[in-house]
Symmetry: D2
Subunit: 340 residues, 4 copies
Amino acid sequence: MVVLLRSNPNEKQLENLVHWLESRNIEVHPTVGASQTILGLIGDTSTLDIDLIRALDIVEDVVRIQEPYKNANRKFHPDDTVVTVGGKNSTPTKIGGGNFAMIAGPCSVESEAQICDVAAAVKTAGATMLRGGAFKPRTSPYAFQGMRAEGIRLLLEAQEKTGLPIVTEIMDADQLPLFEDVDMIQVGARNMQNFELLKKLGHTDKPILLKRGLSSTIEELLMSAEYIMAGGNQNVVLCERGIRTFETVTRNTLDIAAVPVLHGRTHLPVVIDPSHATGVARLVAPLSLAATAAGADGLIIEVHNDPAHALCDGPQSLTPDAFAALSKQVDALRGAMATV
Amino acid sequence: MVVLLRSNPNEKQLENLVHWLESRNIEVHPTVGASQTILGLIGDTSTLDIDLIRALDIVEDVVRIQEPYKNANRKFHPDDTVVTVGGKNSTPTKIGGGNFAMIAGPCSVESEAQICDVAAAVKTAGATMLRGGAFKPRTSPYAFQGMRAEGIRLLLEAQEKTGLPIVTEIMDADQLPLFEDVDMIQVGARNMQNFELLKKLGHTDKPILLKRGLSSTIEELLMSAEYIMAGGNQNVVLCERGIRTFETVTRNTLDIAAVPVLHGRTHLPVVIDPSHATGVARLVAPLSLAATAAGADGLIIEVHNDPAHALCDGPQSLTPDAFAALSKQVDALRGAMATV
Amino acid sequence: MVVLLRSNPNEKQLENLVHWLESRNIEVHPTVGASQTILGLIGDTSTLDIDLIRALDIVEDVVRIQEPYKNANRKFHPDDTVVTVGGKNSTPTKIGGGNFAMIAGPCSVESEAQICDVAAAVKTAGATMLRGGAFKPRTSPYAFQGMRAEGIRLLLEAQEKTGLPIVTEIMDADQLPLFEDVDMIQVGARNMQNFELLKKLGHTDKPILLKRGLSSTIEELLMSAEYIMAGGNQNVVLCERGIRTFETVTRNTLDIAAVPVLHGRTHLPVVIDPSHATGVARLVAPLSLAATAAGADGLIIEVHNDPAHALCDGPQSLTPDAFAALSKQVDALRGAMATV
Amino acid sequence: MVVLLRSNPNEKQLENLVHWLESRNIEVHPTVGASQTILGLIGDTSTLDIDLIRALDIVEDVVRIQEPYKNANRKFHPDDTVVTVGGKNSTPTKIGGGNFAMIAGPCSVESEAQICDVAAAVKTAGATMLRGGAFKPRTSPYAFQGMRAEGIRLLLEAQEKTGLPIVTEIMDADQLPLFEDVDMIQVGARNMQNFELLKKLGHTDKPILLKRGLSSTIEELLMSAEYIMAGGNQNVVLCERGIRTFETVTRNTLDIAAVPVLHGRTHLPVVIDPSHATGVARLVAPLSLAATAAGADGLIIEVHNDPAHALCDGPQSLTPDAFAALSKQVDALRGAMATV
């Protein structure tokens, strides 16, 4: 970290700052120029709050040279992380390092028939994991909140029948006991900075699918991954699912650049959720292909099983047939990319 | 709610839609025009997910005529809500309906001397409530996370010494037992859509200070208030604290229009946090005056007590003297506004 | 267009509204429901300002059923438009309807050697058109504003030597005479709503490359295309080049969904500018592949020729070798996509 | 400006950079630390493109110490600028340095009776200037584009009858001859970065009302002012009129903090346009009071004269009576603020 001082800084305040930094085991190396003095800080600066230092009267600006994340940082872990999901009651599958995850399933679990039928259909169509919501974060308290514990039970039935590892969202740490046999726990966009939940998930050994918040920066996403990893759990998969912008023609704006940007900064796998990013079924296929071409490590796609009655499926859901066709296109694209 | 059908809708799908709506006790009134059929829906449409209906093939668009919030809606509760805070171990104070809250205190509780000194200073300067963070949501897991339970204990000491009601942030429902003697519970911006927490707070009778999320719309803020109120707790105070935009010269962008917009839609009090909205102490006074002139029901302002050593106070904190001066200006402004 | 009236509308005001609409040759079809009266408007509603009607006391809401653009609207022109660029002093090339444009060249024209060398290099590497800035929109009045007329002259030399059609930006209609032999005129993001310029370009027969404004919606982009087309010039190619969001890790956020969204709404070709969208050379290749997979009709990419001295080339520029490699990858991807 | 080099920079590249900087009359002062070398740049760094330097392989980061604007910079011009508007065919009025502008009038000029009646009404109600659109920037080419030259003629009649100085928007430099007797020229939000227009206005001596673009940063606004001032015209008044964010309940989001932020950075007057910021008449009064309390140097407010027929007036327009009441409230507020 480099601190640029204002010209003629108050000496007492400068002394205070240096003492305070040294008390935190930071070495301070001043370099005095003609018009500007600069402090180079050596040590673990990740715990320093850059805003606090920048606020001091004697400070002109502060520049962070090192990223504030460590466990998630590719500089310290150059090799891609490969996260293995499932294996206890399901067929294990890998994400990252060249392993592509095809995660599919309905928005919400609605009944045994529904989730088991969709699971069978997406498995046939090429899915490597099953998704489905049991606990549903809904803007309105009057909207359907999901089947909750019963939804988890039905997901586990589908897991047993198909062998597909399952991923489903947690909304509060006190739901953790219900996730004992769930293969991967999803942290939704609204909880990306629910730090108490992240800390508790850091003490489990479950793979975590961490979705980017609607208005979270890429650095904030990595810091939230760091919360989980600092607790010991290194099995984190990041998910870009669209950010909130002024454009309303799609529900959110898919930040496709997040894929190569994240791959440059972290060794963790990155998957894309085109269904929630756009909210429009017609856009799922082109954005899935775009994500694949950009180098994503997987896709998470909403699939419903009965279009005629699927009033509770989102407008972003594909039919199993459309998913199967997309799955083939993704495979073809990955094949072409491997040869160039 | 009004559903605009596409021309020549599939009859089977239309029948399905009408049956599904009627099964939810919604009356459906079709009006058939030359080129367009429109369904008027009468009944409690607040539980309907507008996106799901809009997604149907036969639907062109859906327009919500009624706001989806009820308890928070001024249409059904035309009089301003007045929230009373404190009274058990503190001097009760009112917010809303002409009662102005002046909430002040440090960013974080750091020591007994610090919080008690600031409490005494802001009380003298005109504060009606004391704020201070015990549980701190921090982007980095390596940053100071607050004094937690010990911080609450110190706040209660300051409460006892000064009689000021205290407000402090909760980050997880399992911290609730510690908040027994806290006068008002703050839900921070990052937890505005932590729906499980909101539900649990809805079953308490504590006043709640609900901060708007960084990228939450005003309607989403009202829906989160509705989560609390649907559980029975009507003592909600809303807080605008800046939204995330492309402008980086201030930490966030204070949405000052939120004050009159919210006053039009809800009977709940609205306070403004100029400290977090801008992150710059120099801007706190002009934005506090602006908020007052816009009709806010109160302000929540960061004040620290020892600028020479206040490295851990935010760049947005005022000294007690600056706060006292601002407090007088706010009073003068409110006086002038009362006469016109 | 459908106007939803408030319950019990003032009769005099309603009469005024109906007369005013009829005076604009709009037929008004009221459908009176139990609790709501709705006016269906038939005729050319594209000239009506929806905000003005919505503002009336008697109006609850207004819903536009038809998009306000006509010439650009795929509903009225279902076939893809193919824009032919060049042919006068250059080899003609096509964009759209399956024809892919590979537009490359330096940020700014700097010298005859520079532009001619880059032109030759990108032609060899697979470019179908040459780009290069002569008039440069710069945030600072003190920054290099481009070689202006001399820059156009040098571009025409490169056009003559290589046969590549050239595209370059116009900043004011009084520069039009200089563009006589330019093959395609670019309207930059900052001028997307410079309506006087758009009108004047509508009276030329030059192909126009219209870039989306940093904060323009997709509908606004189409309305700006409509300005050009309404004047008679149907040769418009749209360009997504990133929008302004809260994320600062890339210069802008590439809205990749704009490709399929625009293809659904308009028959005009859509190209992607990954160089300006991100401002980072390392991200150009993955985003170019993503754009291709999403169905874009072309790419516009910054290429410089001399990395050792290229201080004035942007951080987003590729070397000719990197561009040649990317060009091959794009071809391979297009080949793979054609087979699935 | 300070350039932070990467560790072990390529020596040849470093030499190139230093030579290039020196060729631009920038002194380069290296300070070599243990792990980091830093270049301090002394001289006129305002012409350097920070992005270009940051892009070099050997550069870690660049920090600008000096703002890139000079004429507009309060550091070099500590006293408030007072802009005098009118005096030729109108009563002169001042803006800035304690002089408050109350600018009012209709959205568009529609007829002689309309503009003259509104002018008389707003003058009586306390306006110091008349606004009215002759050239109208409209998203749709099919919408009313304003009365253009005839609109200017009618504004000049209202100027003559009332003595009020007039301000109206220019959309293209070739309209300049029509503005000969206009007292102040408005540059609209969509043209804030129409640099060719700004340059030409810099060569006039007319006061310019420069509106902030919908997605322009405060620094970009100041740089656009700098374009005008660099040409010699120092009579620039800045106008905040709302920025584009994700919130749709108001048309734009008024960035109220822009008032004190701009006052800190520049000596130019700052006025607020609450009508366009929100698009809702009910919000104009509270936001006008907020702007006044925040220290704005004036307001620009839409007023129409005939609500019964004012179909073409925007939803944001006040009646003359509402404007008169607001004018009194603003005066009272300014009085109260002067005493504290």
